[in-house]
Symmetry: C2
Subunit: 428 residues, 2 copies
């Protein structure tokens, strides 16, 4: 049996407590599997006095996570504080710069500073691992980086934010409007402190950017993700989508095209009877397409104490076993910046407009769309007790870029009230 591996854990929220539990409850199993005793030397969190339901009395306490990362009795620094900058980043850098391995669940930090951190890690021969940052307990980072290493990956897509999926499925099942379900999710503690991170698609966008970098061997390019949140999805949209055989999901998609990498995180109509369409509540699903393997689908809990701690401990076990590789699968210095090719892959779209009650308004919209090359598959004007007439349009496949431009033309006609809502319809 080799030397023990001693952890320092910064952040004792849900996930941190889950990690403590696994280390305490499964000491023998972990030692049998990794050939080393895995223990905890020290912990750090905002409040020392809070009762977290686990016994922390055997561990040293540090108020400062940077000091925790630097302790001599900490062999591996586990960063579970969150936040792209601040203490999480400072402590991660402190550990890496002295060659100490880091395991983190911090998608924001990886999505924004991943390249710099990977370079720091590799310059100091320190592993930086982050399975828990993407899709909770699903071993998707490992599958992409290692299991599918023989494939040129062509596409990674999926549902990666449990909160948004909860809101959308709850709206449908209870027939409730967005605002009401949003408030409910807040009361249940499902929302981040800044809820825009969830409902604005930012959190899911961070995850997609990380997967995209791993899949295509480019630098993380979060700014290159086309983001559209779920705030504009109305209960009417959900019902109309259902009538057409679809459900609306916050779908992420990273695709390698001849022109470059296309990344988007957008509410999308997916076939109701497809695996993605049937995904309920907080479950995540990631679909990987490779040239040799075809399509691989991975499904599991996307968040929560157990699943996220499971992912953290998978990384810890790898490091205990000496299984280490460059952060993004290949050396950070060999990763080229991603060439962006956004909004070019054609797909059908669902459009919702509010038309002013003027003669010829619908005809003008149709004309403008037609002139812009957007071909209409179906169009329907709904009853309108008020002044504005809701109109639903399904387009034939078109590039999102062209559609966005056409919609600016539609707005310029002056016959539309408010912003048109455009949702992509997943290609079969």
């Amino acid at each position: 049996m080799s030397d023990p591996l001693r952890l320092g854990i910064a952040g004792l929220g849900t996930v941190g407590v889950g990690v403590v539990r696994i280390v305490q409850d499964h000491a023998d199993m972990l030692a049998a599997r990794t050939g080393r005793a895995i223990s905890i030397s020290a912990v750090s969190a905002r409040s020392r006095d809070k009762d977290r339901g686990v016994d922390l009395s055997g561990y040293a306490w540090e108020d400062d996570p940077v000091a925790l990362a630097r302790r001599d009795d900490v062999d591996l620094f586990v960063e579970l504080m969150g936040g792209s900058d601040g203490p999480a980043k400072a402590a991660t850098e402190a550990a890496l710069s002295v060659g100490k391995p880091v395991v983190t669940a911090n998608k924001a930090m990886l999505a924004i500073h991943g390249q710099a951190l990977a370079e720091l890690a590799e310059a100091n021969a320190a592993p930086l691992r982050f399975e828990a940052a993407v899709a909770g307990g699903i071993p998707v980072v490992k599958s992409l980086t290692e299991g599918l290493a023989g494939n040129a990956i062509t596409r990674v897509s999926g549902v990666m934010n449990g909160t948004c999926n909860y809101i959308l499925t709850r709206m449908e099942s209870a027939g409730l409007p967005y605002d009401e379900v949003f408030a409910e999710a807040g009361a249940l503690g499902y929302l981040e402190a800044d809820p825009t991170l969830d409902v604005g698609g930012i959190d899911a966008g961070h995850k997609l950017a990380i997967l995209s970098a791993i899949a295509f061997g480019t630098q993380v390019d979060f700014d290159g993700v086309q983001l559209q949140g779920i705030q504009q999805v109305s209960i009417d949209d959900i019902h109309r989508a259902r009538d057409m055989g679809y459900r609306i999901k916050l779908l992420g998609e990273a695709r390698r095209t001849p022109a470059g990498i296309e990344q988007s995180m957008r509410p999308t109509l997916v076939p109701a009877d497809s695996p993605l369409g049937q995904l309920e509540g907080g479950t995540n699903m990631v679909v990987i397409e490779g040239d040799a393997v075809g399509q691989i689908v991975l499904r599991g809990a996307g968040a929560g104490e157990g699943p996220t701690a499971s992912a953290v401990m998978g990384d810890v076990a790898d490091i205990a076993r000496g299984l280490t590789l460059p952060t993004f699968g290949q050396p950070a210095t060999t990763l080229a910046p991603a060439t962006r090719a956004n909004a070019v892959t054609e797909c059908a779209h669902y459009l919702r407009l509010l038309l002013r009650d003027e003669p010829g308004a619908l005809a003008r919209v149709a004309t403008v769309l037609g002139q812009a090359g957007i071909s209409i598959d179906r169009m329907r004007q709904y009853d309108h007790p008020g002044a504005d007439a809701p109109v639903l349009i399904v387009t034939h496949p078109c590039a999102p870029l062209d559609l966005a431009q056409a919609l600016r033309g539609v707005i310029d006609t002056g016959v539309v009230n408010g912003e048109p809502v455009a949702l992509q319809i997943q290609n079969p």
Copy 2:
């Protein structure tokens, strides 16, 4: 960049050719990811003259796979011949005994000789990897052994034989009897040379035994798998199952119970609208349950050139990167023999009997089942133009062991013609 990694490939069937293609087509990608050039030095197969659609002219040819495994210019031996014994085993042993890593897709060899081979591998510090042996391109061995290393695994289940799934789904969709679809599958080249390996559940049982060993940290125990093939499943069974909202799948299940490890591979009624129920054709699905992660579902192609070669190359890339661990996740010498606890987990059952046309026959069957403690949920006697009356019974949950004993009692009544068919119904 480290030294190149030179492969020797024994077996140039579908999978071997797929591996050659990946090495040839993706040389740059593999070198970027693993930090080493991956090349092929020598190959071996039964026929040297066959045109396989790939250029083998740059590789040395060996008629004898053992000689191939021993070549000085072969750093890693890739075993793709198949067969539990014979040349595959001899060549694998030849490589391992000189400390040379082996990657294999051979489920039969692993299921039967896995423990001895793992001990040989570890005694010589040679990695022995086999991702391609289970569920084609799905990285399930890696997920279980590494990604989920922080979990006590409680259950592994799934559909792991594409041929059986093809036959069962085709019987249903075309309304054809078993014999006809079996012949069709043979004509399409879907069946092993000995088709019992497929339809008898043996091939799938090999895979389950391997996953069970990894999941529970025991020695592989293929003889402990309760095997039931699909030969007895009739088109009537499929239709009756469908009427009750089920589809019939060859379902494998390995479960850790307080009494020991329960392994079974049996035709099973699964809810038609569940992910397993919706699985079509040759697709595989593995469901893993762990105490921290909850349920993880992995889906992908279970066979074929690309998917299986993808799994082989994942293992090759790991070895190129120096990512090696004991064959079954923990040292083979620490694996205890599996304690068998078979047929103890209760579930509902579907029974089909042919009753002799005698007064009171149905009552006698019901009485014998009742006396054996088997409680009946539903029972139906069908029209019978001939002499025998088909009877369908759905039981309340009972242990398969108790049911098997009860069915012997039913046969002893003398009112039943032929063997009763008993299929388990998956617990929700």
